[in-house]
């Protein structure tokens, strides 16, 4: 953590500031808790409620009794476990490929700067401004018959991973971050005879932790949110991620079972995320150290 933010340590000790600031913290946290965690708490409650209670008495605490069997029904009946595993697999691949492309690409555009960098950079950034749906159909056709290779990626996770790696925003974030790094370090390394791989591996990557953390988070989250695309390219139910499975099941499932499934779909990643969260904060904290 940085030594100070907008408020200095001595200011924080001042009684008036302290009271005002503490009150503000309490108020904002309360609002955040209601807005962000409230729906989840309600989901948790509803996951073990009867359908009638969910619809008729949303604030009641189980007037119809606690229905633990909802959870078992959702887990076994809907194969949520496999869907979760698929989701994680999709997220992991998207994360790795996305990070790989963003780091190497950002390094090239911001530090190596080949002659064609400007053109490539422009072409990459242009995709930021083009609505995704422009290429939805033709992307689908591309995935079915990949140019040059001629392979069909339908029902393969590559069909999700590869298009997701073409994510200009990640490249932009990394590029901007690299552009801010002190150039003298690279120049010095070059003088010492280091080639571009050495510079990338030994100097740039160790300095990139904060941006890796941010890009990782963004990539994982967007992989997690993928819905329409996996629905189109993964028609086999054995491969489908949670979002697709839930969507399909929502059409027929009873309110109580569906709510239980939604809760399972939220609670496991939530637990995973809380662990991941600490690491994120630590690496974000190190950002300050690197800068300082």
């Amino acid at each position: 953590m940085k030594e100070r933010g907008i408020l200095s340590t001595s200011e924080r000790r001042r009684p008036v500031t302290r009271v005002v600031f503490t009150t503000l913290i309490a108020a904002v946290l309360a609002c955040l808790a209601i807005a962000a965690a409230g729906p989840i708490v309600w989901l948790a409650k509803s996951a073990v409620s009867t359908s009638q209670d969910i619809l008729r008495d949303p604030f009641g605490w189980w007037p119809g009794g606690i229905q633990w069997e909802n959870l078992a029904e959702a887990w076994t009946g809907m194969d949520i476990g496999r869907a979760l595993a698929n989701t994680l697999y999709i997220a992991a691949g998207t994360w790795f490929l996305g990070l790989f492309v963003a780091l190497t690409g950002g390094y090239s555009l911001a530090i190596l700067r080949p002659r064609y960098a400007k053109a490539v950079s422009g072409a990459v950034m242009a995709t930021l401004f083009i609505p995704g749906v422009v290429s939805l159909v033709s992307l689908y056709l591309t995935v079915i018959d990949v140019p040059v290779l001629g392979v069909n990626l339908i029902n393969s996770y590559w069909a999700v991973w590869l298009p997701a790696a073409a994510h200009a925003f990640n490249v932009l974030l990394v590029k901007n971050f690299f552009a801010e790094l002190p150039k003298e370090v690279f120049e010095a390394a070059k003088v010492d005879g280091a080639n571009s791989f050495d510079v990338f591996w030994r100097i740039v990557l160790p300095m990139s932790r904060p941006i890796i953390a941010v890009v990782s988070l963004l990539t994982l989250v967007s992989a997690w949110k993928e819905f329409l695309w996996p629905l189109l390219v993964l028609p086999s139910p054995d491969l489908q991620p949670l979002s697709v499975v839930l969507y399909k099941i929502s059409a027929t499932a009873e309110t109580s079972t569906l709510t239980a499934a939604m809760f399972i779909a939220v609670i496991l990643p939530l637990a995973f995320f809380l662990l991941f969260q600490k690491q994120f904060l630590r690496s974000a904290g190190q950002a300050g150290a690197v800068k300082g």
Binding site: L29, L32, P39, V171
Partner: protein, 302 residues
């Protein structure tokens, strides 16, 4: 064979100067973007001048697809709805993350709690979020939000069930689902604000709000400016929320441009018309971005 010697020499020189290394680092990006971004865009461009359902042989129709899009009575409705969504989404969704990020940047012991809370909506799969909010938006008097509104002596509101309130309701859900992502980016950017600036400002005797206004926000300026235009571009492409929550209703009050594109392509199977509208939207957004970047260039530097 002097020619080959020269070209060999050129290649060697290129490699020695790191040309090969540079290309190697650029290659993953070139390949991935080439195959999965640029190529499909070009292909769409071609499609927009054809009449095709991708089964029968395509027929070149010139600009007729564009004319057919412009003749669609739903186009004006969808365009208006999209603009309305964007305006609402910015009014709520733009300031909240900035203020929240500045606030979180100041937290010490409660920082983790606040961050966790902010992130919670992000990790909820969108399908769950939408289904959950659909439930919260239950229009009956015993619906969850209406019960809560009842405690304040308000409502019951029809939420998604009326042409007037449907879009604002969707914006609430979209903002809820989206504010965390933006907040993270701002919090990360705040890390790079040098604390000496605050030190100096404090010595000058400026108060907290002045520091926020004169140091924090200006330091965040370039990120904020970028996020703003990206947010506009993103909200212009809103699809999932209205698609799942209202299907564009009631009475087309939440049908958006992207839903119209989707409808042309996948419901009607008219890919030429769909790509024509996509291109029109893309050109508009690109022009908007260009104007925006130009207009803000000065402000960014100052």
């Amino acid at each position: 064979m002097p020619r080959s010697d020269t070209s060999m020499g050129a290649v060697t020189r290129w490699v020695r100067h790191g040309g090969a290394g540079k290309l190697l680092f650029t290659a993953p990006m070139l390949i991935v973007f080439g195959v999965f971004a640029w190529w499909p865009i070009l292909r769409s461009l071609v499609l927009s001048f054809q009449r095709t359902n991708l089964v029968a042989d395509p027929v070149w129709v010139g600009l007729r697809n564009f004319a057919r899009v412009l003749a669609d009575p739903l186009l004006a409705t969808a365009a208006w709805n999209t603009v309305w969504f964007t305006v609402l989404a910015l009014v709520i969704g733009f300031p909240v993350p900035v203020l929240l990020a500045v606030f979180i940047g100041e937290l010490r012991r409660t920082r983790t709690v606040a961050s966790v809370l902010v992130y919670i909506p992000i990790i909820i799969p969108p399908v769950v979020a939408v289904l959950l909010w659909k439930q919260l938006f239950d229009p009956s008097a015993h619906g969850l939000l209406n019960t809560a509104a009842g405690w304040l002596g308000l409502g019951p509101f029809p939420w998604l069930q009326s042409a007037e309130t449907a879009m604002p309701s969707i914006v609430v859900q979209a903002t809820w689902a989206g504010f965390g992502t933006t907040t993270i980016i701002y919090v990360a950017a705040l890390m790079s604000v040098p604390s000496e600036l605050y030190e100096a400002a404090e010595l000058d005797g400026s108060g907290v709000l002045r520091r926020v206004w004169h140091i924090t926000l200006p330091q965040l300026r370039s990120v904020i400016l970028l996020m703003l235009i990206l947010q506009v571009i993103g909200t212009f492409q809103v699809f999932t929320e209205p698609y799942v929550m209202t299907g564009g209703g009631p009475d087309n009050s939440t049908i958006t441009l992207l839903m119209l594109i989707f409808k042309y392509a996948f419901v009607v199977g008219d890919f030429g018309k769909a790509t024509a509208l996509s291109l029109m939207l893309a050109v508009f957004l690109t022009a908007l971005s260009a104007v925006y970047l130009r207009a803000t260039r000065k402000w960014k530097r100052s």
